[in-house]
Symmetry: C2
Subunit: 190 residues, 2 copies
Amino acid sequence: MKSNQLKEVALNQFALHGYQGASLASIANEVGIKKQSIYAHFKSKEELFISTFNDSLDNELQFIKQFMEENHSVPLEEVLYNFLNEYLGRYQKDHNMSFFMRTSFFPPLEFEEQIKSGTNTFVNELESLFLLVFKIRKADLKPSIAPESAMMSFLTIFDGLLVELLYGFPDRLQKRLTSSWNIYWQGITE
Amino acid sequence: MKSNQLKEVALNQFALHGYQGASLASIANEVGIKKQSIYAHFKSKEELFISTFNDSLDNELQFIKQFMEENHSVPLEEVLYNFLNEYLGRYQKDHNMSFFMRTSFFPPLEFEEQIKSGTNTFVNELESLFLLVFKIRKADLKPSIAPESAMMSFLTIFDGLLVELLYGFPDRLQKRLTSSWNIYWQGITE
DNA sequence: GTCTATAGAATGATAGAC
DNA sequence: GTCTATCATTCTATAGAC
C-alpha cells in the first residue's frame, strides 16, 4: 500500500528535519510521486504527521510489550540489563525511536495535546510494566527499596541513556551504561 | 543594544518552534521592527541562529562554572543534590535550557558539526568539573567505585531528569528525582 | 538602523483531466 | 490514484530611500 510507504518515508524525514523542516515535496519525491498525489492518501500534512506519530507510538508500545513477554521468566538483573541493551540497539536499525523522541520531547505546538497524550500512554505503559517486574521480583531488592522507587530510578537512567544516544558518541554511551548499571544495581540490591 | 534583543527573542522562538519553525518575520514582529531590518544586525537567519546558540552555550557553561565555585567546599551529598535541584529549577525561569537542549538533541542538519562541537564542549566541561568533585571527595565513595564511574552515572541521571523535565509533569519528575537520588547515593556510598 | 518595495523560491493545498 | 496546472501564502533575502 502506498500510504504505508508514504508514512515510512515521512517518518524518516520528520525524524531528520522535524515537522516544519520536512516538506511534502521532498517526501513525495522520495516515494516517487508528485507532492499533489499525497492528498489522495492524506487530507493534509497534519494528518500525515499525526498518522505517522500514531504508528510510531504503536511501534514503541509493541516493542516493550513483546520484550516483556519474552523476558517473562528471566532473572531481574537480566531483564533490566537486556532491556537497556536491546532498546538502545534499536536506534541504529530504523528511525522510529528517533522520530518518537523528537516528537515527544519537542512536539509541534499545534499538536501538543495530542502528542502529550500519546507520550503519556507510552510512559504509563513503561512504568506499569516495570513496576510489575519489580513487584514480582521484590525478594531480590533490598528491603528499604520499594518497587516503585526501583522502577522510577531505572527509567530515569533509561532516559539518560537515550540522551547520550542522541549525542552520538558510542564510547561515551558505553561508559555511561556500564557505570550507571553498576551503581544502580548496587543501590537496589547490595 | 537591538541585536541582543533580537537574539533574546530568537532564543525564545527557536526554543518553541525550532529553527525551521521560527520565522524572521515573527521574531522581528516581537521585537517591534520589520523583518528586513534584521539584516542590519545579522547577515542571515543562519547567522542569527548560530549567534544565538553560542550565547546559549556560554550561558550554560557560565552556570555550571559559577555553581562549582559557589559549591567549592560543600559536602559531596550537597553538591550533587543541589546541582540537580538548581539546574532543573532554571528550566522554568527562561528558555535558555530549552533552546540548548532542543538544539543539542536535534540540531538542524546544516549546522550539525558546529552544534555537536559546542555540545561537546559543554559535556566535556560538565564531565571534567564533576570528575574533580568526585576525586576531591574520593574518601566518601565506596572503595569499589571509581570517581569516573560515579561521575558518569551521575550525569546519566541528570540527563534522564532533563527528559522528564521536557515531558512536563512536575509530580512525576519529583518522584524520579527522589528515587534516583536515593538509589544512586546508596550505590556509591553504603 | 529602519523603512518600503520587490524579487525569487518554496510552501501547503485545490481543481480537474486521465 | 496520479498527473498537470494553478493559487495564495509565506519564506529568506536584496536594493535603495530616508
